[in-house]
Amino acid sequence: MKVRSSVFASFILICEVIGVALFLRGFFPVPLKSSFSSKISVKTGPKNPPLLPLITGSSPNSSRLPEPLFKRVVIMLVDALRDDFVFGANGRRNMPYTRHLVERGSSHSYVAKARPPTVTMPRIKALTTGSIPGFIDVVMNLNSPALLEDNLVWQAKTAGKRMVFYGDDTWVRLFPKHFMEHDGTTSFFVSDYTEVDNNVTRHLDSTLKRDDWDILILHYLGLDHIGHISGPHSSLIQPKLLEMDDILKKIHSALISKEAEGSLPYLLVLCGDHGMSETGSHGGSSEAEVNTPLVLISPAFKRKVGMEKPGVVEQVDLTPTLALGLGLPISQNSVGRVIPGVIEETSLRDQLRFLHLNGHQLSCLLKDSTPDYEKEAGFEQFRVAERAHGIWMKLFLDGNTSEVLTNMGKKVLKQYLEALAAMSSALSKQLGKYDMYSMVAGTVFVFQLLLVLLLAMPEALSGEASVDLPVLSALLSLPFYLLCLLLASVHVLVCTSAESSCYFCSLSWGLVFAAVAFSSAMFCILVSMPVRRNSPLRSGGGSEWSLSELDVLLLAGTVGHTLSLAASSFVEEEHQTWYFLLNTLCLAVFQDVCRKYFREQRGHGDEEEPILPSKDGHHPKAEVCSEKWLALATPPFTLVCCRLLRSLNQTGVQWAHLPDVGHWLNSSEHRTVLSLLAAFCLVLIYLLVQRRCSCVSKVALALGLLGVYSYRAAVGNVLFPWQHSGRTTSKGTVEARFVYVFILGIFFTGTKDLLRSQIVTADAKLKSRGLWEIYSGLVLLVTLLFRAHNLPVLCCCLLIQTLMAQFIWKKLHYDAAQTTIMHYWFGQAFFYFQGNSNNVATVDISVGFVGLESYVEAPAIFLTALSTYAGPLLWACHLVCFLSSQRGRSPVAVGHGCYCLALLRSVPAAAYIVLVTALRYHLFIWSVFSPKLLYESMHLLLTAGVCLFFNTMEQSQSPSKS
């Protein structure tokens, strides 16, 4: 089957998008949410735990909430406290007092298992909400660092508990205004491990003396810092642990002295948020990072008589335990189950009630999250236990106190515990785990496609620009059927033996079979392509394959950039990579230009290029000369532009705090400068774009740009010369809609021209004008969406495009592949010039509201994506215009360009998903690598769209040719 290379490239890209989507679905498990997921709905929802549905009829008395178990709770959270620091062989030396309490005191101790990512922020979320946070949660509430889910702290605040917090300021950011008193310390200076803790401890004495709080939370960071500096076996660890032990002793004795007869007892909790690996870091899922100690100390517990092996619980189990202990409702998304040891001293009736409350909450969550919840074993067990509980209640209230009843109650208790365990594990299976099978399937798809793309390179970039895919022979071959069978059996095997839920397995059979068939066909094609190539094309070896310096740079840059994505710093500072490569590219182009013009001038046809001077011979001498100097000036000018733009927006992480021109322009005292700059840029944009437009769109463009300025004035970014203060800023909806009308008009004329050139007259000129009009419509839209201080970016973009197209790409006879790679590099650099970074926080969401009265999802997402990827899109569109408008170029240039663009985009995307899979337990996976993954996939999607556009352009070209 012979297909044109643009069709081939677009097809491959679209399939890759599907593969990446499958990968993403496996990498970011969809969060489990109760139907009352946000706090707003919690307020309206049932605040009290629901009454017993079965038993309420029997007696009103039975539905009362049990009394809280504790009056005051002190939570002492020590960052990176590993279980063996307390329970291990050295525990007696490290933390003598704590160890004494564990062995002899009235306490319960457990090993609490944290879930990866073992990083502080997700762990705090897990401890307070009881759910297991995924990365997608972070993306969902982009601009608000505050925790919006139902959580323990919020419940406590609503119940009127007074809370005091000292320690890591992540808490303060997560729970703003929740604490009666707080003092956050930043964990910014990792090398400081004494001050951070002293800042917490200095409040302790006064706070412990007072009586006006109910919950005290302390978060100590020093141990974690020591771990990062020198690891878990350093000599600094023991003094730090002794210090922690002293603090615990201090708190404990203060609590004991405060304790009054008759009132409820206190509870002191010592826990860690995550452990510490043998190298001292954390984030992964090794035993040392996951196991944290959990020590609960309260006079309500039985006194211990010696060291026991601590039981194992989940970290999230603390949440329902604390909630029930304080008499609060359990957070709705909690997947934890109450720790039985804590409630074992209460009456059997209360114990059953506690377990029932926990079970009810879990069953509600299960109902909301799984469609066929009734088949879950835990749910069924819970129903049985609930019924038995009802019968027990009835007998109990009748005054039956026999041995039989106690035994029956114990049986119900056991049933409840089993049901809780089953439900909890069913829930947490869906959470916080990578769905490896889907990820691997997605990766395999993407890599097959990438290899096919790479193998087709010689054909796709040949003069024909068409790829011969042996589809039919692949489909009829025996290996195809064998592979189908093999893959299908692998699929069945994996899905039947998988423990956790898997997206790929839950797809319908038809889809899975299509995927299996597609994958095997791709594999067969993959094998047969090089085999077939080898037989007839032995003669055309790589003898005349000579690379110029520019080619070497372009290849090395592409490969080097792909490799650099493996380092978190290079992902954070990716803009530096692109600026660096772009600068080098400009210098290389400069060298090419110099070589061309100076060699030419030096010896008239002395060595290799005797044709060139005579070719330009018919030009007037002066024109040649001025053209030469303009060509020579273009690369330095581009370099200067790039340097200026680079200082416009500081992005990245390490140097993001440095002052930049953008901030200077945006400050209110420089508004006049900003207005002048914006006006100048708009004029320049008009001058640069209008050259190749028709009269109608020239007028539309001018009016549109005026509209943009008045929109910016209405929003309050820039000043109108004739209107002064006294007008409040509006949303500028009218002005923006005014601009939208012109944008649509320009798009309309452009499409009309294109259609006419295709159907009515085969006029290349009309076609290139139509293309340019579509491009100018896009420019106008981006002008509207860009912030005022970013208009110079657009301006420089257009200027560089014009100059480069005029003097460099045309004159130096770069081929389509080289031009495409340069366009792609420029596009990437401009993506960062406009202030983007690989962090989700830099996406400008306000763009989604331009011209809209309220938030409407589809246009808002479209506009945000457009303005975020404006740089790459504009350069890709310019590439289409440039390649198809060139008269002298071979007609296959567009196909070559499309193919190169597809290749350039899919190589980093494919490499990146493998990298992310390999680094999935990296410390920075959620903060650095996952956002980048989202950016990569979005970019892939957009490139697929651009390639389709290429496709239509080429399609309209071929009929006009024939």
């Binding site: 600068n583 370099l639 340097r643 390490q654």
Partner: protein
């Protein structure tokens, strides 16, 4: 084919490399508290000075510099003056390029300029020694197939190695390792020096192994 020249080149390069080495070792013995990272500027200037002095002396003694037609003192002075001017201009050029690459414009301008001086003394100075202050000759040598002698090829290799070394030296700057050599411009100047030394070794070796294929047109 050019055995004599290759031998001369190898010994010249050995002397220059030794001068770089001495420029690192000697101040360490003489100046208290000298280290390549700590007192980087001092090291940088000592290397540039040593390379400048030794190259000028060696190439003058060797006499590769194209023979001048006139032997008047005035002409020699003007050549000297032009050489100095080119040296300074080249420093400015390198400074501009480095700033365009993203070096801060105002703060640490002195560091940037020192790097430019180092780059100049490693690259431009050699051109001045071998080709003289003659821009046409420079353009010829650095265009494709422009080498007309073994020394031209050698010049191409060393200059390319030095510049690529400095270019590669910028890679580790964004990494968050907090090492002393990641401070601007240490990694770049180290990269340039290492590239230069590599070039010194690579040029005679490459020419030696390709001496059969090397043909120069307008010899």
């Amino acid at each position: 084919m050019w055995d004599h020249e290759i031998r001369a080149m190898a010994s010249t390069h050995a002397i220059i490399a030794a001068s770089v080495f001495m420029a690192t070792v000697l101040p360490a013995a003489l100046v208290r508290g000298f280290s390549v990272y700590g007192t980087h500027m001092l090291w940088l200037y000592s290397v540039s000075g040593a390379v400048t002095g030794v190259s000028v002396a060696v190439f003058w003694l060797l006499g590769i510099t194209p023979p001048t037609k006139k032997h008047t003192v005035g002409y020699k002075l003007s050549r000297l003056f032009r050489s100095c001017l080119y040296f300074f201009l080249s420093c400015l050029f390198f400074h501009t390029v480095v700033v365009l690459y993203g070096a801060p414009l105002i703060e640490s301008a002195l560091d940037t300029f020192s790097l430019a001086v180092l780059l100049t003394s490693l690259t431009t100075l050699r051109c001045l020694c071998v080709l003289g202050p003659n821009v046409q000759a420079w353009i010829r040598v650095f265009s494709r197939h422009g080498a007309m002698s073994v020394w031209d090829t050698c010049l191409q290799i060393t200059v390319a190695c030095t510049l690529v070394g400095a270019w590669v030296g910028a890679f580790p700057i964004p990494l968050d390792w907090d090492r002393p050599w990641q401070v601007w411009p240490i990694s770049c100047s180290l990269g340039a020096t290492i590239g230069f030394l590599t070039g010194l070794v690579a040029a005679p070796a490459w020419i030696h192994y390709h001496r059969k294929q090397l043909t120069y047109k307008c010899k």
